[in-house]
């Protein structure tokens, strides 16, 4: 279902979600690898990941590999669904089929059954 998501729409978070969703379901990527890939700073990426984690869109796992601390990030099922809905909403805006100023959910509620 097309649904514009203002949490995902911020450019860094949009890139984070695009990157995580392009991996297989259940795959996690290391924080430092994601930071290098997106060319952002530690603090910047960390702050945006916290926002996405609070929304339930990403999962952050801290662990030890060979006695070194590692942080892994993955997209949750809810995050994948929200991202798919956001992409659909963007496509609707492009096609002119959607009212760009309101989320799709609100529009469907107004329209009734």
């Amino acid at each position: 279902m097309a649904r514009f998501d203002s949490i995902i729409h911020q450019p860094v978070r949009l890139q984070v979600m695009s990157s995580l969703v392009s991996l297989d379901l259940g795959e996690q990527v290391e924080f430092t690898y994601l930071r290098r890939l997106l060319r952002v700073t530690d603090g910047n990426l960390g702050a945006h990941l916290v926002k996405l984690e609070e929304a339930g869109y990403v999962r952050i796992d801290k662990t030890f590999v060979d006695r070194k601390p590692r942080t892994y990030v993955s997209a949750t099922g809810k995050g994948r669904d929200a991202f798919a809905g956001h992409v659909a909403a963007l496509n609707e805006i492009l096609q002119g089929a959607a009212e760009p100023t309101q989320p799709a959910k609100a529009r469907s509620e107004e329209a009734g059954p």
Partner: protein, 192 residues
């Protein structure tokens, strides 16, 4: 929140570019390193067998062993893992390992059953089996690059076997090992 047509278009481009960049970076880090590793193994092994043909078995055993150890090290350093069942390997990496083990078992079975008459025939057979693996992975992952690499090296191996059997090992070092090494470097540099 209101967004314009241009903003939506820009966001969709950003999504597409980031997804492409991620898939390529994954391929560059993983496939690139493994191509360089196995290209080096092949180059050294074929040159070694040309210089000491009576020790072909030993040369291939030692270098393949080093290649397997190197592959394990590349996989251990891999920054993507599976979150399921506590496994450190991603589902894709697990499928890849099972595929190569199955292909290796298939090649071993037919080598034991057919007992090739000479080392050149055996070497050419194993090269074509390994390249079949590249073709299958290319088809599986949607990489025409890997499909073409597998087909071209297979063609070069067969040409060498038919046309210049006396220099087959040097030919395979340059074409087989060189092709893997060169494409691995290309992937690492261009897809970073």
């Amino acid at each position: 929140m209101g967004i314009s047509h241009e903003d939506a278009l820009e966001s969709l481009h950003l999504i597409h570019d980031t997804a492409t960049k991620t898939r390529r970076a994954v391929a560059a880090g993983y496939a690139g390193n493994l191509l360089i590793l196995w290209g080096s193994v092949w180059f050294a092994a074929f040159v070694g067998v040309h210089l000491a043909p009576h020790r072909a078995g030993l040369v291939w055993s030692v270098l393949d062993g080093l290649g397997v150890i190197g592959t394990v090290l590349v996989c251990r350093k891999w920054p993507i893992r599976s979150s399921m069942m506590g496994s450190r390997l991603s589902p894709a990496a697990r499928r890849m390992i099972v595929f190569w083990l199955a292909l290796f078992a298939y090649a071993t079975l037919w080598v034991v059953l057919l007992r090739p008459a000479n080392g050149m025939l055996l070497g050419t057979f194993l090269v074509t089996v390994a390249m079949l693996g590249y073709v299958v992975i290319g088809l599986w992952s949607g990489s025409s690059f890997l499909v073409w690499l597998g087909l071209i090296v297979t063609g070069l191996a067969l040409c060498g076997y038919c046309l210049i059997p006396a220099y087959l090992n040097l030919w395979m070092a340059l074409t087989g090992g060189g092709a893997l090494l060169g494409t691995g470097l290309y992937v690492r540099i261009r897809w970073r």
